[in-house]
Every structure is written in C-alpha cells, then in structure tokens.
Symmetry: C5
Amino acid sequence: MLTTRLYRDGVMDESEIPFAEISDRLADESVCLWIDITSPTQEILAELEAELGLHHLAVEDALHHHQRPKLDRYDTHLFLATYAVQLDERTGRLHSTEVTAFITPRALVTVHPPQFDISKVVHRFDADEDLAEHGVAFLLWGLLDVIVDGHFDTVQQLDGAIESLEDALFDDRPRDKEVQRRSFEIRKSLVLLRRLVLPMREVINTVMRRDVGSFDAAMSPYFQDVYDHVLRVTEWTESLRDLVSTILDTNLGIQGNRMNLVMKKVTSWAAIIAVPTAVTGFYGQNLPYPGADTLWGFWFSSALMVVLSIGLYVTFKARDWL
Amino acid sequence: MLTTRLYRDGVMDESEIPFAEISDRLADESVCLWIDITSPTQEILAELEAELGLHHLAVEDALHHHQRPKLDRYDTHLFLATYAVQLDERTGRLHSTEVTAFITPRALVTVHPPQFDISKVVHRFDADEDLAEHGVAFLLWGLLDVIVDGHFDTVQQLDGAIESLEDALFDDRPRDKEVQRRSFEIRKSLVLLRRLVLPMREVINTVMRRDVGSFDAAMSPYFQDVYDHVLRVTEWTESLRDLVSTILDTNLGIQGNRMNLVMKKVTSWAAIIAVPTAVTGFYGQNLPYPGADTLWGFWFSSALMVVLSIGLYVTFKARDWL
Amino acid sequence: MLTTRLYRDGVMDESEIPFAEISDRLADESVCLWIDITSPTQEILAELEAELGLHHLAVEDALHHHQRPKLDRYDTHLFLATYAVQLDERTGRLHSTEVTAFITPRALVTVHPPQFDISKVVHRFDADEDLAEHGVAFLLWGLLDVIVDGHFDTVQQLDGAIESLEDALFDDRPRDKEVQRRSFEIRKSLVLLRRLVLPMREVINTVMRRDVGSFDAAMSPYFQDVYDHVLRVTEWTESLRDLVSTILDTNLGIQGNRMNLVMKKVTSWAAIIAVPTAVTGFYGQNLPYPGADTLWGFWFSSALMVVLSIGLYVTFKARDWL
Amino acid sequence: MLTTRLYRDGVMDESEIPFAEISDRLADESVCLWIDITSPTQEILAELEAELGLHHLAVEDALHHHQRPKLDRYDTHLFLATYAVQLDERTGRLHSTEVTAFITPRALVTVHPPQFDISKVVHRFDADEDLAEHGVAFLLWGLLDVIVDGHFDTVQQLDGAIESLEDALFDDRPRDKEVQRRSFEIRKSLVLLRRLVLPMREVINTVMRRDVGSFDAAMSPYFQDVYDHVLRVTEWTESLRDLVSTILDTNLGIQGNRMNLVMKKVTSWAAIIAVPTAVTGFYGQNLPYPGADTLWGFWFSSALMVVLSIGLYVTFKARDWL
Amino acid sequence: MLTTRLYRDGVMDESEIPFAEISDRLADESVCLWIDITSPTQEILAELEAELGLHHLAVEDALHHHQRPKLDRYDTHLFLATYAVQLDERTGRLHSTEVTAFITPRALVTVHPPQFDISKVVHRFDADEDLAEHGVAFLLWGLLDVIVDGHFDTVQQLDGAIESLEDALFDDRPRDKEVQRRSFEIRKSLVLLRRLVLPMREVINTVMRRDVGSFDAAMSPYFQDVYDHVLRVTEWTESLRDLVSTILDTNLGIQGNRMNLVMKKVTSWAAIIAVPTAVTGFYGQNLPYPGADTLWGFWFSSALMVVLSIGLYVTFKARDWL
C-alpha cells in the first residue's frame, strides 16, 4: 500500500502520485515529497532503489528486522530505523514495530508493516502544516515526533501498571503470584523499551548536528523538543526499572515477614493444642493416679485443660504471637 | 494571579504594573522586570507570547507537565523548567510542583501552579536587594536558589526519615510491616527526587557558561554557590539510596535470623512436650507393663515425665536454643 | 591445511598456490591474496613470518589463546584476533574458537583451529564477489561479517533459551532445579559472550578509522553495517543479562511464595488432624466422663470429631489457606 | 581561639600576632602567614573578611556545615572546605568535622570547631620546615596531608572492623545479630566516608592544576603524593563497600544453610519420636490385639519401640540428617 | 641482598658491581645498568638516593607499603610501584608483594621484599637478550612482563577455583558451608586483585605514551603486548566477579528449593504418621464403639491404618511430594 504527498513551496499540492513518476516530480527544486509504503515487497524496494538512487545496504536494512534504532549516512541520503512500541495493558507485554525511512534532500520515504498506524503521522503533518515550508526536515520531525510520543505514552502506561502493582504489593490479601508475574512482565518490557529508546538519543542528536548543514535552522527548536522527549522517556524508564526492583525487594521482605507471622501462629496453636493432649494422655494411663475413675478426677482434668489452654492463648495474644 | 516588580538601576521602583504596559516599560534600557503568574490561562500566555516575543514551543511547554528540569535556548530568550519538591512527612511521599520561567535580557517571567509558594522567592529578592543591580541574573539566581534550597530541605527530611527507619529496624519488637512500607515510600521518593535533581546540574551549568556572555560576572560566585548546593543534593540523594537498600538488605538478614530463632524455639518446645506424651502413651498401653495399676507405677511415670522434661529444658537453655 | 585464493583486478584467478610462491605473486601490484591456514604448526608460521615480513610478536600471538579480541598495528601489517562462538543448545554452554588474521596491504592470512568452519567465509566471498575489487578491505570485511553474524546467532539462541526458561519459571509444576541449572549456564555464557563481543566495537572502530587512509571508501558502509551488528549484539547481551537476573530474582520470590503456601497448608492440616486426636484423647481417659462406656457417648464423640474437622476445613478453605 | 605563625623567607619568625596587625604584616612581600581560628564567632569572621578582603559568600560558607569538600575560586583568594573524619571503633560510627580554609597569595587561614585537633597540623609544619620556603603552598600541603592521612587511618580502621566481622560470620556459634548491626554501621560509615572523600580528588586536582600558575613547582611532587593518598583511600573505600555487601550476601546464604540443617534435624527427631507414640497408641486400643494383656505383648511392644527408634536414628545419622 | 647487571652496547658485561661504583659506571654513555635490592635498609636507600640523585619522596615510597600501583614522574627519574600477587590455592586467599623501581635514563633499580622471586625477572632478561640493546626500556619491559604474567596466572587459578565451586554448587550432596566459605574467599581475592590490577592500565599507558620521547620505538609492540595482558586480566577479573555473584545468587535459589523439598517431605510424612495415631486414638476411647473388644474390631482397625497410610503414601508419591 502506498501513500504519497507532494508539497510545492510548503503547500500540499498532490496526494496520489504514481510510483513511476516520482523521479520526474523530484526534478522540480521547489518540490518536497513524502512516500509511505506499507509492507513493501522486495520488488517495490528495488524499484525505489533505482528511482531514488539509494544504497543497496540501506534498502536491505529496510527489509530485515533490527531491534536497534539508528541513523546511517550514505553518500546521497540518510537511512533511519526506529521502533514504534505498544503496550498490551492486559499482559503487560511490549510489542514493537519497526519503522524505517530513507531521507533524501527533497524526499522522505517511510517503510513499515501494517501494525504501525501511519494515520497518526498524517495527522501530525496536517496539524502543523505551517511548518511544511521547511521541507524534508518538517517531514522527518513529524515522523520522529509521533514515534517518540508513542514511547512516551508507553512509559506512562508502564508507570500506571507499576502503581497498581504497588497496591497489590501492600494488599492485606496477599497476591504474590500476580505481583511476581506482572512485575516480571513489566521489567521485561522495560528492558526491551530501554533497548529501543536509548539509541534514539544518538539518532536525534545526529539529526540536530546535521541540520546545521542541510536542514532549516528554524526547525531546530522542534528537533530539540523531540530530543527533550527522548531524554524524559529514557530517564523515566530508568526510574521505573529502579522502582520495579524495589518492588521485588520489598516483596521478598513482605514474604519473609508473612512467613515469620505464620510460623509464630503455627507454634502458638501447636502449643495450645499440645496441652489438652498431654493432660488426656496423663489421665489415660492405666495407673492409679489421683482421681482415677472418680468424678472429681474428671472435673479436675477438664478444668486443667481449659485453664491451661486459655492461659496460653492469653499469653500469646499479649505477646502479639496470635 | 499576577505579581510584578520593576527595578530601575538596581532599585525597586514599581510593583503593580498592568499587563498591557509590560512592553512599554521594557523599552527603557535601565529597567529590569519580574512578572510572576500563578496558574495562567492559555489566553494570558498567548498575550505574553505576543508582548515579549516568546517562541511558541516554549509557551506550550509552560502549560504542560514535564517532569524534567531543563534550560532551552531560543533566539531571543531562555526557557527554564524546574521542580519544587515537598515531602509529606507522614506518608514519606514526595510531591513536586513545576515552576517554569522565561528569561529575556531584561525580564524574568515565572509561571507556576498555586501549590508553589512564590512568597519565598519574594523574600529572597528582598533579603539580597543589594544584588538587584545585576538585573535578570539576580532574579534568576533568586529563583534557582529558592528551588534548590527546597531540594536541600527535602533531602534532609528524607535523611531524618531514614534515621528513624534504622531505629525501627533494630527495634526489639519487630516492626517489619512499617519498615517495609516506609522504606518503599522513601525509596520511591528518592527515585523521583533524583529524576528532578540530576538534570539541575546541567541547567545551572548552562546558566554559568552562558553568563560569560550576557550575565554580570559578579553574579558568578552566587551561581557557583547554587551549583554547589545541587551537587550536595545529588550526592546526598545517592548516599540515601545506598542507605535504603542497605536497610532492606539488613532487614532480610534480620528476618532470616528471627526465623532461625523461632524454628529453634519451636523444635525445642516440641521436643519437651513430646516426652510426657510418649511416657503417658507407654503407660496407657493395655499391657502388663511393670508398675501397671500400681501406685509406684504412677509415681515412677510422673517422675519420669518431670525429670525428662526438665532435663531437656536445661539442655536447650544451655545451648541457647530457648 | 591450506586454502588460498588470488584475486587479480577484483576477479578470482587462482585457488591453489604453493606456499613458497606467495611472495612472488604479491610482487604483482594488481594482485590480492587470501591464505587460510587451519591449525598451523610453528614451522609453517615461521615460514609465513619470513615470507610476508610479519612481526615476531604477532606470529606468537596467533599460536597462543587470548580470550580477548584485538587489532594490533605493526609497522608493515595489522594483526587481528577474534572469537567465533557456538552455543551448545542442550547444555546452554558457550564454546569459543579463536580466529586470528594478519592483514598486509595486499594479503589477508587467516589462522584458526579446525573447529572453525572456514567454508562460511568462502561462501561470503563468493556471494559478494562484486566487492572483490576493493581488495584486502573486502576480504577483511567478509571475515568480520561471518564472525559477527555468528555472535548474532548465538545471542538469538540465548534469547530463545531464556524465553523457554521463563515458561519453566511460571510453570505450575515447579521445575526449580532445571531453572537454576539452566539460568546459571546461560548467565555464564552471557558473561563469556560479553567478554568476547565488547572489545569487537573497538576492533571494528579501528578498522573504520584506519580505512580512511588505506581502505577503499566504498567499503565504508559495509564496515558500518558490521559495526551496527556488533552494537546490536552487545546491547542485546546486556538486555539478556538483565533478564536472567530478573528471572533469578523472580524465582526467589516464587519460592518464597510456594513456601508460604506449603506452610499454610501444613498448619491447616495439622490443626484439622489435631482435633480428633484431642477428642479421642479426652474419651480415652480412665475417668467417669459424661457418656463413659455408653453408646450415646460414642455417637457424641464421633459427631464431635466429624463436626469440628469439617468446620475447620471449611473455615480454612474460606480463608484460602487450603 | 587563635594560633598564628609568620614565616619570613621560609623561616618561622613570630607566633603570636594580634589580629588587627595581620594586614600590616602582609604588606611585607617576604612574609607568609598562617592563622588558625577555632570556633570563630560571626564577628571575628567579619573582621577577617575586611582585613584580608575575602568574598562574603566564602566567609558565610565557613560558618555553615556542608558535608561536601570543595575548592572555590574567588577573585583574590581560594576557599577550601574539607572534612576530618574519626571512627568510633566501639560503635563503628563515623564522625566528621568540617575544616575550612581561606587561601590568599601569602596567607592561609584555617577555621574549624574544637573537635579537630590542630596540633597535628602544627607538627606537620614543624616536621617539614625545610619546605617552608615555598610559602602558602607549603601550608596548604601540610593541612591537606594531615586531613587525608586521617581519611587513610579511618579506612584502615574500617578494614580492620570488616576483618573481625568476617570472623564473626564464620564463627560456629552464630552471632547474626552482631553481624547485622556491625555490618550496617560499617556500611553506613563507608557511605558517608565516600561522600567526604570522593570530591577530594577534584579538590587536590584543582590545587595541582592551579599550582602551575601560582605555586612553586617544587611543591608539585608533594601535592602529587597527597593526591595518590586520596586515590588509595577512594579505591580502598570502594573495595570495602564491595566486601561488606559480600558479607551480607554470604550471611544470607549461611542463614539459609542453618535453616535447612535445623529443618532436617526437626524432621528427623519428629519421626523418631512419632514411632513409639504410634506403637503405644496401637497397644492402647481397647481391642483384643495379639498380646493384649500379656507379658510377651509388653516385651514385644517395648522391643518394637526401641528397635524402630534406633533404626531411624542410625538411618538419619548415615544420611547426615542428624 | 644485591643483584647487579651491566649491559654495554646491549651485551651483558658485568654482574657484580660494588655499590659505590655505580655512579662511576653510569658516566659511560654506552652503559645500561640493572640493580636489584632485596629488603633494603634505610641506609642503603639513602646511599642510593645520593648516588643516583633520586627524589626524597620516591625513596620514601619504596619503604612504605601502598597497595596502589602507580608511576610517578620526577624531574630526573620515574618511580614505579607494582604488586606481584600469589594465590594460596588451599585457602583461596591472595597474597601481594610490593615491587618498586626507580627508572633513570640509563639504570633500573628494583626494590622488593624476599617474598618476590627475582629469578623470574633474571630469566626473562636472559630469554630475550636480543632486546637488551634497547637499554632501560628493555629492563622495564622485562620487569612489567613478569609482574603482569603473575597477575594472569593468578586470575587463571581463580577461574579454576570458581569452576570447582560450580561443581560443589550442583553437587547432589549439598556442600553449602564449603561453597559459602570458598566463594567468600574468592570474592575477597577478586576485590583485592582488582585494586592491584586496575591501576596497571594507567601505569603501562603512561610508559607507552612516554616512550615516544625517551624509549626506543622498537620496544613499543612489547609494551603494547603487556598492556594487552593487563586488559585481559582486568576484563577476566570483572567476569569472575560476575560469576561469583551468580554462584551466590544461584546458591540462594538452590537452598530455597531444598527447603521447599524438605518442607513437602516433612508435611507428607507427618500426615502419613498422623493417620494411625488418629485411628488408634479412636480405638483407645473408653466407649462402646463398633467392634470394641472384638477380634474383627482389631482386624478392622489394623486394616484401616494400613490402607490409609499406603493410600496417602501413594498419593504423595504421585504428586512428587515424596
């Protein structure tokens, strides 16, 4: 599937350009072009390679999954690989989708699987169309901004998930199994998110350093803004990692605590129950003990059991063992 | 709500300036202006943007929450985002309030929600009014100094909270639940505090590097002083993080210790109680054992129980198991 | 065993060159030579040293095992040490094989034990023969690419092993022993992998910096591609280390959890069993208790046992202790 | 309290100089002055400020406690803040005392509370009086050397404390409580020590860089020597932190081990005791079992108990459970 | 004890030179001298100081123990402090011996206690005598190479010790105590080794940077070789630290696992034993229960015990609890 947009002097001009005419349109210097390709076949990319003069390695990279954001420089163009992420709130698992882009002086070609919702990028382009005069820099900014906003939303969702984990942690009714499973999934997601977000700093840094030469200086604050978002996401991710391990540590402590409580209870009840057992054992001996086979013996034995049991119970209660 | 102050040649001159006259006053080169806006509406900020020629992105940032201190440079002004923090001593939870500022060559505009007590900043301005001749640098210093002092107070409070946690830790009467909950909250607060304090180094560093060009060199030691405070806060925060995890580790050890003690006690008492049970079991058999149905049998059985029980008790006591 | 290849003007020309003729062939400036030696004897290397004018220390290094990738510069040549790795999927253990190479302006000499499958390198040379015109840079790239691809495959296998470890972790039927043993082996392999992969960054970085001077600039994107692979492997390795320790931490928590469950069950059943014991003890006393030696006494005792046991069972079930 | 020393051309000349005459003496270029003030009042410092032309911020810093060593540069002088430390060997707690100094081209003014024993500095000055010709550099070196020597002694004491902790750790008679308390205190002291020692690297580095301009080059090896001491203290501190957490980890393992041993013992003894109980229970039944009410029944029952109990005991002993 | 060697134009010439003639020999520019002093007295060092014009601080350093490798530069010479290490395989404890050296343009003076076996250095000098023409650079290289080889051997021994620890870890017959003690000692040795090895990077780096000016360029690959060794030792040390903590973590998990197994066994056997106890208790009641005092009652009771016990045993076995 193909989406195209042609801006002439900063104004949107055309939106459905046949693939074969791309290089013709780019001959016009006042033109800036966006091409979006969903799940391209190898043939389409080969055609694109020829049409725009892309480096073979870059085109190959667009077909393979990387799991590492990067911005590669080739002689005539840049190649960008980024990852859009999405959190499955139910399981706490993170899903990532690779979004790649070829950046030439007057065209941006984005390539991605259908899981990535390109309409968000379209909306961003529409919302800030007054920036369209800055050409490819504007298009690139729009793409990066949408991707990084997605990272931001995800880290926010993870923050929420950790918050609800804390509630489960200090819940009176222990939900250990849930805490363990959820915290494991969250930590796994954070490990993956970190791997996808950390290199974005370098990516955007390169864009910003580069823009001195080729991009419009007026776009600079906008890239700075995206960079600031990336920093916030990375710092937040680090904080959350920290929090999750605090939760795991605290959980260990809580378990140990609960274990101690259970042990004390077990001991106490065992002692309380052992007393009547010992008494009835005594009175069950086939020996002429005082009160054997007499009624006062029965009352004495019963009273002994009750008094000793209650006595122990009260003692334990007072010591906070029950 | 609006607070304004106008300094002419380093002396306070006016304090209630209508919003619309701001740009007129700034036309006079001997003037330095402070404007404080509590919870501004979007309209007020739009007016401000026009009046002072601020960048749209900076004004937008003042409206959104960031959770990341920063100092952005725009062509005609700086944009500062910082966080005032406050510790709820009862729960150990940290609350943060965003304070943002626009810094132009001759004006400082601070923007914040009502939770931030601007009067502290006012008092700082009054207390050091001999520095007012340094213009905006003085105003900016006053603001930063108050914010960082707040960070310092908070880290000091957290230090106190950790101190009292230690007492709970080694208390003879185990207060595990409290220790866990408090240490969790404190560690969470430290994670957040770190996120808000660490980037302040960079913020103030930028101010200090910048001041070579535009700020009065005489303000330099004052910014250095604030910077020093920031370093102390960050180093202290790291120390406290270290201490809290030491507390958690130690707590695990103490729990294990207590568990071992309980186990030894349980075992000992179980053994002591098992002895009379075994004896009475023996004498309860329907068999013609020695002493069956005789009085000496009864005395023998009773003596056996007492002697064995006491013997075990003494043995365990000697081995420090009871 | 010796494999040789001679490229003349970027085209493969000869493949079986007698050892003694090597220096003769290299006299021709249009020639580029690859020599592969499997398990060389000290004599062969001495001959090579003389033939190509290699530094004695480099030749010695090719004979000893290092466990550290590096690229040493000598006056007339480079010396490369790298490690091919292979994961034994059954045990999770990592095996490494040292592959060393001497790089002169027009020849690449690779040296390795028989465990390293050189045919992969041969296939890479054949697959990209259009790059052969770049001479030694092409040969070096082919070698590094195969090695780093091997690293990549290994880290992918380890990722899979960790995935299956997670399943074992949350399995209802505890497989602790397996989890411990596997996670230990995986972590050990990750520690070793890290040691072999981390210095590769520096190795390839040196190649890339150096290529400005002596290698063809057109090879630059290809080395960049390998470098990118190395970064992905190192970052992935770090993530996996993180995941394995998360698994170990989680496992501790799960064990603690299981322990608590077992304790609660033990306690509950102990209580349920203690009740009939206490009742029969009571009715076993040699005392004229109500119902002694009467049928209603028997029914009463039996009913008591049943009612109390069921009562306790229901209570525990409700509290989720059983 | 005031101590003063005046060196003229590297030779001590006077030692009790009235406060008011300080600036007069300093007019002479061949003079170098040391002034030590114990617990100065605000008035004395104000006088000093005027007399020596110190910056107001520096003087204020000398009055407040910082907990962060630093060397601030002012236009006409340097301000040094350092911390002398002392370990209370009994509790393992670290006490720190702030020592501050103003360094002008020809005078060193040290300020400290009475807890700091200035006589050590005096002895250092006397011991190396042949260096006195280097003026203020010599005085500063003497001060720093004494402070850093104190750090060194403290880290050595902590090393000893950890050594004795290890003995307690592997002691046969568990001393968990002591181990926990001591290790906690030591780790706390190490956290504080680190905070006070780490910035010293920067402090002395600054002195050394600066000395190119203003200090005598011949003092350079002496500052290098102090710097080397600081490095040793910081590296040693890191090592000790590492060791203490190793001790805590090992302690957890030892506790778990002990727990397992206790559990095995409990189980074994419970089984051994359960056997006679079951046997006597059997022979206590009101049923015509074989041997009921006969003498061989008694002997059989008794033999059964003894044989089974001994059999279990031997089995457990063989399996190393007892 | 004194060992001396004099090389004239790269050839060994004399080997027993009286102490007093050292400076006379050094007057000859073609001469290069090695002096080794075992456990020097203060007097010998003072003499040396005068003879070679050494800095007083350097000579003092040779007498005191440092525990920190370093290379100090003085005006006329270098001062080197390194540590030879040795592992006591039986206890796993690391012993270190300080070896210091003064390096002048034409002499190397090594100073060490008798624990350091200088004959290894002598052998190295003899083995590579063809390098002797490079003068002091050759001597220094020989010394460093021997020291670093010792570090390498030690880390290899520690690797072996950890390997055997792993075997103990997964041994069926738990050897916890041994694992804890050994792993503690190994980790302690690693902490110390790290402290002694890490600064060696800087030491050799300084030598290599310096050699541009004063050492023969031909020695450069040899120092590079030593540097490479140092890197391998440091990286290996880090890996081993990682492995030891993995072992400790795994051990905790194994203990928890074993604990759970023991608990399940205890519970199961307790249940199996509780059943006959309950049955005999029932038949021991002084009540006219069905089968009281009849033979079928006895058979029924006995059958009940056997059937219930076996039933429970089979059930537990099937659930893997026994």
